[in-house]
Symmetry: C2
Subunit: 214 residues, 2 copies
DNA sequence: ATTGTAAATGGACGATCGTCCATTTAAGCA
DNA sequence: TGCTTAAATGGACGATCGTCCATTTACAAT
């Protein structure tokens, strides 16, 4: 261990000290918090630095501008979704049915679907069409997750049916989940996680009788 | 017909003349057009009046401020959805199956689901959570549409099953449609209207065998 | 023709936006 | 203890935001 490892990331200094990594993290977190609470249009440089407790020049210094910071915030937020999704999927690997339901339950779990996340998610969606960098992170679930679900449905279908059926059901299932997120956004009080899981289960049980019993 | 009917709304004057109604309409249309093309954050007073071809003071004069104009634009946009939906639903009244599929086809039709509408819809969604007035128009389909679908599913279920089943399937169907809109937003080029209708049909056919044959 | 009324104009205004940079501060090295 | 380097500061800057109002314009009634 060289002297260099006695860097500011160690817990020696209580708070104030040189730590560019910490500054970056503070800014990203403050940005996401501001978007969640005040919306993206009211997420200004002044508000971000106030929440982060840093000086005005930090955004330009560490990110090169407000837009780049927003992009990094979107990336971080998207990354956090998959990290938590993987965490909840860690213990499950029994079969296609369990895999699919594990993904569904995780996507609708309190850790992933809550007022904060749904607010941030839809805020980014609103500006995604004109900001390709953000659009990339606003995609309807990524290829890996889609692949996992599609493979599971393929296994469930065995060899019967067309090749496109599994793709259709995959897209339908993802669309169902998307719709649940939107419902949470528009009716945060009336929303029921249990009902949401039950509804998805109903559709899948109808599709594969006996496999997704409620 | 009194003299008053020779108002500016008549086609006497070619373009310039007093017509507060026309000014209001121009401003609302310009607002929606700007949101569709530039996003809500770049929809400024300057841009709106430029597109509308009116003077700066008009927004404050006719709407009392930019926020009120945005709210009116959201109302108008939402209203247009239901007007077109009703138009497409006008000829259908055969049975529950036809009613449901007519709503699905209409919701996914080019008139209702297109790049412009999906951009505006998601832009409003993005700011809805902090703007109650706009949130009201961003609701996931209104009570009337939901009621029509729910009644149809009730009829399809006849007397079997719990009372909540129809509600569940209704919410699932609406969620599916919401998800399709989101997919159109994130993948406008890859999206297929035909595939979207087919996927919804698959799920409903699984739920009610023989009723929603593809 | 004159007057009254309301629509329409467009510039002034203060506030706030994001960017940038001269300066200060703190940590590592000689 | 100086010296170097990079992190951090915070105010200045021009641009642009939305609001507002004194003024002009156009139409209807007198």
């Amino acid at each position: 261990m060289t002297d260099k490892d006695r860097s500011p990331s160690g817990k020696s200094g209580p708070s104030s000290g040189r730590d560019p990594e910490r500054s970056r993290r503070l800014l990203i977190e403050a940005t996401l918090e501001s978007i969640a609470r005040k919306g993206i249009s009211e997420t200004t440089v002044s508000r971000i630095i106030e929440h982060a407790g840093v000086s005005r020049g930090m955004i330009h210094l560490h990110f090169g501008g407000k837009d780049k910071l927003l992009e990094e915030a979107a990336r971080t937020f998207c990354e956090a979704y998959y990290i938590e999704m993987d965490r909840q999927l860690a213990g499950v690997s029994d079969g296609p049915t369990e895999t699919i339901m594990a993904i569904v339950r995780a996507d609708l779990s309190e850790e992933l679907l809550n007022e904060r996340s749904v607010a941030i998610w839809h805020a980014f969606r609103g500006v995604a069409r004109l900001n390709p960098a953000i659009a990339h992170y606003s995609d309807t679930r990524d290829a890996r997750l889609r692949g996992m679900i599609c493979d599971a449905f393929h296994a469930l279908l065995e060899s019967e049916g067309d090749a496109g059926v599994a793709d259709d059901i995959t897209m339908g299932t993802l669309a169902l989940l998307e719709g649940m997120w939107t419902d949470f956004l528009t009716h945060p009080d009336a929303f029921s996680r249990q009902a949401a899981v039950r509804i998805v289960s109903r559709f899948l049980e109808a599709m594969f009788p006996g496999r997704f019993r409620i």
